[in-house]
Amino acid sequence: MKYNLQIDKETIPLEVSPVEGRNLAEVRAGEATHLVAYKAVSETHLHLLVDGRTVEAFVAKTEDGKHIFIGGQTFLVRDADRIPSSLSRSAAEELPGDITPPMPSVVVRILVAEGDRVESGQGLVVVSAMKMENTLVAPYKGLVKKINTRAEARVAPGDTLVEIEKEAPTDG
């Protein structure tokens, strides 16, 4: 079976050939082939022997993909061929131009007004989550077209808090 896996920002193609009747598989990654023996210890715990190296892996499967823990590192691994279109679209929509909180937050202060000219990197909105304040900044130089929030409003990722009309860079 062939997979195209998304891990961090990479896509890794893998081909797995199970050995019939045994908990053993060959996994081909590029030029290399890895022999993997495995035991499912529990629903979330896999005990692997990868080319002779013992690996304890923990897996939690969600709609997002599989969350995997190996030796102090965590990964979100997705099957690129099976990513629902809504997910891949939202990833594509997360252009740096969107002024949206990275997590559910409360608006503390709004630092600009509609009609203001802002520089790239200038603070626009201060939001707070888990007792921590975070300033959302202008991704580029431009004109504040619209402010879609107010102080003390609860906001979530995807909400566009401030709309900015991008100004063409003036320097050659």
Partner: protein
């Protein structure tokens, strides 16, 4: 001794206090907000009282509701933990006025020491050196700018009512000073209900060293040695250890003496922490007194063998300390790593959400003070601490190896945590060499991103999990008899 204690806190620290109470045969009452209905401290306590809405001001900061809860359940004393109301003198005095015992210092002491400028005054008159700076706070930005110009940049902006790094900012030069003051003031106002700020000269290349003190109602004061807490992000500690790798025998002795003077000068009772900044020259300055149990108290417990919560309760009940300074010894080395629900590759941005998988590390010398469990939803309303991982070993080198083993076996999925970052800190040369200063993270780990990612193994795990899933369902998952070449590759038994 008290028969029942209410714990006015949540999560890991509430759980930690409940554990000692249980060992002492004291019943416990937990309080909780709507977001914490199923939190671990609620599950572990003997009784639990709802405080209502999740917003901290309506629940964990609601003095009247908490005192009512103690009265209605028949609790005789209140332990405030750390954070929330722990250093709020109005809370302590309200508890005293209600005829209950506050497990901590008298409200007067909390008031004096909580006013950071007043505390500086007390220490100066007791002969303890304080960091050069203002002796009075202000909400006037103009005054702060003028003082900063006079003192010379860089300066450290601090909240008069400060704690936990809230309202604290380093300002390198006059540009932007006004905006920084405004933002720090708003943060302080929100965190403490008091926006007043003051300035200290910002000292470079310093270590954060603190001394744990215990003082009983009979006037005995002892210290339990130091903790070094130099590794901080956002002025909040993330790794602590004891002994400090940067303290000579003489400095340790004179700092211990200064800590005792500081405790005596303020009329201290119960457990407290005297914080100092240590310059490379060996000169040290008083910073502040934390009038409560510290997050990092377990490393002192591991090396001295003393249960600080037990002694807090004994002192609050009026019992004298059962030991003097000469009886207190310590052994080995302890390190604590704070496990936060934060993304260390995104400047430690909070990462709330459901805990999909949770497995604590085990084995010799490992202690986990945890506050969550698998299936728990980490709320967005509170501090992102999930728990604390503490190790003890014979010496520092062994303690570092033990911490690495423990971190690599601490599986948490669903929320991002500080674990991968802490692994890299423990592996780093500056940490190994004890080169730990308060700018450690900015110097060595600015814009950190995970190193040596085992992406291929994660990919292999993904595809093998697909293969193993149907087998697990039918209950026939057995490891393959390895084929011949395998047998030569190492020990492999089931």
């Amino acid at each position: 001794m008290f028969k029942k204690i209410l714990i006015a806190n949540r999560s890991e620290i509430a759980v930690r206090i409940i554990r000692t109470c249980r060992e002492m045969g004291i019943e416990t009452v937990a309080v909780y907000s709507d977001a914490d209905e199923c939190a671990l401290h609620v599950l572990e306590a003997d009784e639990a009282v709802s405080l209502g809405p999740s917003e901290p001001s309506s629940s964990y900061l609601n003095i009247n509701l908490i005192i009512q809860a103690a009265k209605s359940t028949g609790a005789e004393a209140i332990h405030p933990g750390y954070g929330f109301l722990a250093e709020n003198p109005d809370f302590a005095s309200a508890v005293e006025d209600a005829g209950l015992v506050f497990i901590g210092p008298p409200s007067r002491v909390i008031r004096d020491l909580g006013d950071k400028t007043k505390a500086r005054e007390i220490m100066q008159s007791a002969g303890v050196d304080v960091i050069p700076g203002m002796l009075a706070g202000t909400e006037d930005i103009g005054t702060l700018c003028k003082e900063a110009d006079g003192m010379g940049y860089p300066v450290l902006l601090k909240a008069v009512a400060g704690g936990g790094g809230k309202g604290m900012r380093i300002v390198e030069d006059p540009r932007g000073m006004k905006e920084v003051c405004a933002s720090a003031m708003s943060e302080a106002e929100k965190a403490f209900g008091n926006g007043a700020l003051y300035l200290e000269k910002f000292l470079k290349n310093t270590r954060h060293i603190e001394f744990q003190v215990l003082a009983d109602q009979q006037g005995h004061v002892v210290h339990l040695f130091e903790r070094e807490c130099s590794i901080q992000r956002r002025h909040q500690k993330i790794v602590e250890e004891t002994p400090s790798p940067g303290l000579s025998r003489e400095i340790r002795r004179s700092m211990g003496k200064a800590a005792l003077s500081a405790a005596r000068a303020s009329g201290y009772v119960n457990a407290g922490t005297v914080e100092f900044l240590l310059e490379p020259s060996g000169k040290f300055y008083f910073m502040e007194v934390n009038t409560r149990l510290q997050v990092e108290h377990p490393i002192t417990e591991m090396t001295t063998g003393l249960d600080l919560v037990r002694h807090q309760i004994e002192i609050a009940a009026g019992n004298p300390l059962p030991f003097g300074q000469a009886d207190i010894t310590r052994r080995g080395h302890a390190i604590e790593c704070r496990i936060y629900a934060e993304d260390p590759s995104e400047h430690f941005f909070p990462s709330p959400g459901p805990v999909l998988l949770y497995k604590e590390p085990e084995g010799p010398g490992i202690r986990v003070d945890g506050g969550i469990y698998e299936g728990f939803e980490v709320p967005v309303e509170y501090d992102p601490i999930l728990g604390k991982l503490i190790v003890w070993a014979e010496d520092r080198k062994m303690a570092v190896s033990r911490m690495l083993r423990a971190l690599r076996g601490y599986a948490i999925l669903g929320v991002q945590t500080t674990i991968p970052f802490l692994v890299n800190v423990m592996e780093s040369t500056p940490f190994e060499e004890g080169e730990t200063y308060t700018h450690f993270i900015e110097t060595h780990f600015a814009d950190w991103s995970p190193e040596n990612r085992e992406s291929l193994l994660a990919g292999i795990t993904y595809v093998i999990d697909d293969l193993a899933r149907p087998l697990r369902a039918s209950g026939t998952s057995e490891m393959a008899d390895p084929p011949t070449p395998w047998e030569t590759l190492g020990e492999w038994r089931l």
